[in-house]
């Protein structure tokens, strides 16, 4: 799936001055099991979706520099799941004394 990350001014140093970075990501699979460790019974296999944070890391942007993420103009958390074609916008952390 492809996700677009719209960049505010600060992050353009990670995109050679472009306004966006498009990243291509694969959803990974994760086993959801009963018990822990080797030999535990596996009940189901679930797809682990791609989160906003996955996309940011994949784009090569240091996650600690990202304070606010929005999608369609609304603030979302970094563990929000994304789908193919989503556009997110990232902002710096809030500074101050």
């Amino acid at each position: 799936m492809k996700v677009s990350i719209q960049l505010t001014a600060w992050f353009k140093k990670y995109s050679k001055d472009k306004n966006e970075i498009i990243v291509e990501l694969e959803a990974t699979t994760a086993e959801v099991g009963v018990g822990v460790g080797v030999g535990a019974n596996t009940d189901a296999v679930a797809k682990k979706g791609v989160t906003a944070l996955d996309a940011i890391i994949a784009a090569g942007i240091p996650e600690n520099e990202v304070g606010i993420i929005t999608k369609d103009g609304y603030k979302i958390s970094d563990d929000s799941l994304l789908k193919d074609g989503d556009k997110i916008k990232i902002f710096t952390t809030i500074l101050g004394g």
Binding site: T8, A9, W10, P62, N64, E65, G67, I68, T70, K75, S77, K89, F91, T92, T93, I94, L95, G96, G97
Partner: protein, 582 residues
Amino acid sequence: MIYEDYIKVLYVDLSTGKIKIEQRKDLVEYLGGVGVASILLEENLKPELDALDETQPIVFAIGALSTIFPVITKTVAMFKSPLTGELGESYAGGRLALAIMLAGYDAIVITGKAKKPSYISLSKLDIEIKDARALWGISSDDVGRIIREREPGEGKRSIIRIGPAGENLVKYASVCVDTYRHFGRLGLGAVFGSKNLKAMSVIGDRDLPIKDFKSYFKIYQEIYKKVTDTEIMSKYHDSGTPINIEPLNAAGGLPTRNLQTGSFEFSENISGETFAEKNLVRKMACTGCPVGCIHIGQFRREFDKGYEYEAISVGYDYELIFALGSFLGVKSSDEILKLIEIVENKGVDAMSVGVALGWATEAFAKELITEEHTIIPLEFGNTENYIRAIEFIASRKNDFYTALGDGAYKASQIYGGQDFAMTFGKNEMPGYHTGYGSVVGFAVSARHSHLCNGGYSIDQSMKEFDKEKLVKGLFDEEKERCLLNSLIICLFSRKVYDRKTILEAFASIGKNYTNEDLDAIAERVYKTKIRIKRACGFQQMDVKFPNRVFETPSMNGLLDETTAYELMGMFHNKVEEMMSEK
């Protein structure tokens, strides 16, 4: 004092002209900065008297590590605030801390009232109270220029001064420090005015050799590297604090049009990027800071017909852009710089005056006040009228502007609209509507400011809302900053100055503290501040939140009134617990 076992205090009595210098060993356990200043304030304060009574003290103090380590650049001023009637505490950078240190003092206590307008001229060997009658009534910029021309000490001095608003006792009048920095908040300028004190020039003409240079330079370099290598510090230098406009606006935490909303449709026009591209002409640093976060912007003004223009330069920061920009619906960087210029010349706190005008604009729209009061219509986005309104406030033009010069809290008591007078503990709000951390943080902090406990930062980092964690976060930060403000670091670098670094810095100048010592100092200082507040009659649970904060969604959604009061109560209990411990 560095390398000494005492704190050197200079007392100036403006009524009698008498000077006294004391070496106070008993103050060492308060470290310096806000620790020493709060004890000196407590000793000299007349809590039962008005903040502008001539007997009230102004205390300046530099920190225990002032200016010999990177980013330790600030001076604290403490006084009884005419705006809130309780603890007044304000910080400024510039060259003042270095000048006071090299003049040979840790703290200065000014009491009394000069018989005529005066200014203090201070150096290592000389203290004079000079005639300032010719300076009375003129702008803070011009006073700075005239004193620069008349007084010696070029390159080693700091000049602090008030404008007409301070002389006219506007209760949020500021004191300008070296043109681009200020003791902005809580009305120190009015306290200067009440003492007939127009300015103070401090010349740092002493030398202070470092004793164990090797140890000192090792830790100095480590701190310097940390400061200049971090991404946060690079942001402060590149865009400066105005970089906040974008994230706060996107998240709905940018107070706009008297907090009727949390985002501004013209935010791009006033973003840090726009200021940098359109107006930025220079970056500067306080003495002792390798970062250089002071951003100077320029705008062009036509002063006569026939294409006669002048270029005006003023400093800009996030808080000014919020208070004079989004909060007033002002939608261009040039207009904001124009408003900053009038704020500078008249000598008022940009945040308080912007927030007070936000209330007045809404009160005008709701017809609680009319043009009979305001003389000119006050409308969001009408910069020219706001400029005139700031002039009216500074000159106390009529009863209405006198009330507005007493603060939004006072004005709304007289004219109504307290639900949308955006004050906390009578102090006008800072530019963060980020959640319970900011709102409750303003209400409980010692000076009702975001700078005491950084509540906005907790709102930003807290993944899931947890009442206990939030209150503990605010309380711990409030206490830790009592330590940091005793050093006095610039709070922008607070993550660099962790406990390990602080202990190593002290050790390199021969002062061996333990972590427990620092804990005890932080608590001792916080308790002193609370005692001062209480002596002035402050009651935490009497603080009322303006209803608007519960109507306009914050960065973290709509806030609930009952929860906010509950959190304030929880914080209050922690303070009670601390105060009851011996």
